[in-house]
Structure formats: C-alpha cells, structure tokens
C-alpha cells in the first residue's frame, strides 16, 4: 500500500509509505481532501518520511492540499521531512507557505493541538 489514511480523534493521519509518482501524488491529494470533508476533521498530519524526494510538483501538491484542507476546515502539518530533503528544498528555492511542519508524528500532534485549540490563533 503506497499511502495509508487513518483517523485518530479529530485528526487524520496520512502516511506516504513509498516514493510516489505524480499521478499517485495527485490521487493521494484527492483522496485525502475527500476524507477531510467527509469526516469533518480539524487537522491533518502528513508523514512524508518515506518520500525519496520532495520536488516542485510534490511541494506544490502538498501546498494546494493544505489550502483545500483549510477551506474545508482543517489545518495541515507535514512531518518527517529528512535533513537531506529539507536541504534540497531550500536549494531548489521551494517553500510550502501555508503548511506547518514538525519533526515527527508526536510533535505534529502537539502543533495541531495548539493550532486547533478552542480559540484558534489568527494565522500569521
């Protein structure tokens, strides 16, 4: 299975388990956005630790995924970006502007807890 999406409380935990090509990435985006709406969840954690690269297409997909999720009422946190990928992304000149990041699942949950607390702080 390339991707798994699990529900935990108010959140969805999506983990990418292998290198994805563009069409798989796009299908993953669609499936996740659909689940967010269907399950009325408030936060999404995407674990990208198994991705081999995060190139401009993958970054754009994650960015628009976060935008769509926000439109459907959920915040997105990307976790598991490796040092190599982080380094490459900044060399490439990429950022994922509306996406929060955390080191791992545990810290991702903390970030989401802060973001989706009863009175969510205004976005910076």
């Amino acid at each position: 299975m390339l991707v798994s999406i699990l529900r935990q409380g108010d959140y969805l935990l999506a983990s990418i388990n292998a290198a994805l090509d563009d069409s798989e990435m796009r299908r993953f985006q669609e499936a996740l956005v659909e689940r967010i709406g269907d399950e009325r969840c408030r936060g999404v954690i995407i674990d990208v630790a198994a991705l081999d690269v995060l190139d401009s297409y993958a970054a754009a997909t994650l960015g628009s995924l976060a935008d769509m999720a926000r439109l459907r009422g959920a915040e997105t946190v990307v976790v598991g970006v490796s040092p190599e990928i982080a380094f490459t992304m900044v060399q490439l000149g990429m950022s994922i502007p509306h996406v929060h990041t955390a080191l791992d699942l545990e810290q991702g949950l903390q970030v989401l807890g802060r973001l989706t607390s009863p009175l969510p702080p205004p976005r910076p």
Binding site: S56, A60, Q91, L92
Partner: protein, 364 residues
C-alpha cells in the same frame, strides 16, 4: 630475449663500438617505456635506422642525445599509432579464426552479410574501402592517385565505414526496414553525427520504431563510453525510476546522502518536463572522471515541441502547467553545471553536471 640483428651501416657510418654504445642506451630508453620485449627489439632497430640515416647530419658529440630523443619520439609515435589503430578497429568484422563448427557457419553468415553490405556501397566508396582496409594501401598514396587530399579521403572512409556497419546490420537481420526513415536514422547513429541526428529527430524515431531501437543498439553503444545508464521515459512512473537510478549512481560514486537527494530532485524535475511536454524521451546518467575530480552527468532528451524561450523558462516563477515554476531554474541552483538546448519543434536537451565536493572520503 633475441639479440637485434646487425644493421648494415651506410656510408659515413659510426664505428661499431660507438654504435654498440648507442644501441645500449637506446635499448634502455625504450625498455623503460615499453614492456613487450619483441616490440622493444623492433623499436630499437627503428631508432637505430633513423639515427644512422641522419648520421651525416649530426654532430658526433650530440649523437647520443640525438639517439635518445629519437628513441622517445619513436616510442611516442608507436603509442599514437596503437591508439589510432585501436580506435579504428573494426567493430563488426571479426578476423579471429573460428574454432568450433558453428563458428564456421556464423563466419560464413557474417561473411555473406559483409559481402551483401559491400554491394550496397557506392562504387567509389567501396573501391576506397577495399584499397585501404583490405589491400592496406596508404591514404596519402591513394590521395595522390585520385588527386585529392588524404583528409578528404579519411572523411570519406569514415562515412563509408559507418555506412558499411549499417548495411551489415541490415543484412544480418534479413528484414526490410519498416519505414524509409530507418536507414538514414541508423546511418546518422552509426556515423556519430550529432547534427544529422538532430535533423533527423533520431531520438524520437528510436522511441517510436522498435526495429531501429533494436538494430541501433550496437551502433549507439559504439558511440557511448559504456559507463552511462539510459532510462526510457514515457510515463509518470519513469520519473521515479530515473531519479532513483540517479541517486543510486550518485551514492555509488561517493556522493553524500544530501547530494544524492539533490541530484535525484534535479533529475525528477527534468524528467517530469519530458513527460509533461514531450510525452516520451530518455534520461542518461553517467559518471564523469577527470584527473582531479569526479562527478555525475545527467542528459535528459526529448523530441517534443521544444521550449520557445529558454531564458523565460529559466526564470523563477515561470510555470506553464500550474506548478511552482521552479523546475528548471531550481535545477540550475541544485547542480553545478546546467545547460538547456532547445529548438522549437525539434525537442529539448538538458545537460546537468554535479561534481563531488572535496573533503569527502577520498576514493581510489
């Protein structure tokens, strides 16, 4: 070790003792450079012959330095000659004698194919090829006879050999080429003529025509250095394959994990462009070896519509398909060298190089 035969001294020759002394020195100079004892004998004689020929013109006091210099030159020109011979070795015709019965059959088949191939050559080309390669006559001599320059003949010979390789492969295959394009494409491939290959859209044709892709393999192998990996690109999944291959090659060349990811990402970007804009193409990944450094070469080619304005495409934020517009300009930042060649309607070639940074574990 066989002793060198005495050389008949011409008039005004040196005394035997003098000659013996020169011979010893020449032998040492050559033996320290050449391993093969028979070749040493040959070269010693050649050198001595040259020295003796020049004897009247040289000062007896400088005879020894002259002999040493001559010996060096003889060795150097032998190497040059060996190199040229090796480069121009026939790749197709195997002149070694056959041992087994089936070899005889194969030989005959090959012989027939060569004969058939020869009949397909224009008379003038065939005559030249036979005169030079079979009868072993010098180009300079042939040039004098036909009152052209040896250079022109060499070029003609090169074309003829390329042609012969193609005709031979066609004759061995016993099939007719499926399209009229095939023969010129194979010819361009065999000749290693880049310009002609572009004109004919060779890469596009090879992707479309399985016949030529099959037959062209030995021809393109001849041109390549044999150290590169080729990935045919035609679908999304090939992007993943190409970048993972790139990372593996990079790691095997001693690049760090970070550089492996950097390289894989750059390959991902250029390969995606092939899928998006041209549909099909190829990515070649190979190693670069220079005396002082080692690196990785990526060449991504397609025969698609091409980029009308390369400068614009290399500008940040310019995206034609709703991406971040970071593909090509980002690659330029990721790699050490980055060149895009594109011609509208003819396709695009992206060449990227990354050198292994110093300070890493030195591999030897």
């Amino acid at each position: 070790m066989s002793a060198a035969r005495p050389v008949a001294p011409p008039a005004g020759a040196p005394a035997p003792a003098e000659l013996l002394e020169i011979r010893t020195i020449v032998r040492r100079v050559i033996a320290s450079r050449v391993r093969d004892s028979h070749m040493v004998d040959d070269l010693v004689q050649e050198t001595l012959a040259k020295v003796l020929t020049a004897w009247g013109r040289i000062d007896p006091d400088t005879a020894i330095p002259y002999a040493i210099a001559t010996a060096r030159n003889v060795v150097a020109s032998t190497w040059r000659h060996l190199d040229t011979t090796e480069r121009n070795l026939h790749r197709v015709v195997d002149l070694l004698p056959a041992d087994r019965p089936e070899d005889a059959v194969l030989d005959r088949e090959e012989g027939d194919a060569v004969a058939t191939a020869l009949t397909h050559l224009p008379d003038r080309d065939r005559a030249l090829l036979v005169a030079h390669d079979v009868e072993g006559r010098e180009l300079a001599e042939l040039a004098r006879e036909s009152s052209t320059s040896p250079g022109a003949l060499a070029a003609q010979l090169k074309r003829t050999r390329a042609r012969l390789r193609v005709e031979y492969l066609l004759a061995m295959d016993h099939r007719e080429p499926p399209t009229p394009q095939c023969r010129p494409v194979l010819l361009a491939l065999s000749g290693g003529d880049r310009r002609r290959q572009r004109e004919l859209d060779v890469s596009g044709h090879l992707l479309a025509c399985p016949y030529c892709a099959d037959l062209g393999r030995p021809l393109s192998q001849r041109a390549s250095d044999g150290t590169s990996t080729r990935i045919a690109v035609g679908a999304d999944a090939d992007v993943v394959l190409a970048r993972q291959t790139g990372r593996d090659v990079a790691i095997s060349l001693g690049f760090s994990a970070t550089d492996g990811t950097v390289i894989a990402t750059a390959i991902s970007e250029v390969t995606r462009n092939i899928v998006k804009f041209a549909g099909t193409g190829e990515v070649r990944i190979g190693r670069l070896q220079e005396p002082a450094r080692c690196g990785l070469l990526v060449v991504a080619r397609d025969a698609g519509p091409g980029i009308s304005d390369v400068d614009l495409a290399l500008r940040d934020g310019h995206s034609t398909y709703g991406g971040l517009g970071l593909g090509l300009p980002g690659c330029r930042r990721l790699m050490d060298e980055f060149v895009v060649e594109s011609e509208s309607g003819r396709g695009t070639t992206v060449t990227m190089r990354k050198w292994r940074s110093t300070g890493g574990p030195g591999g030897r």
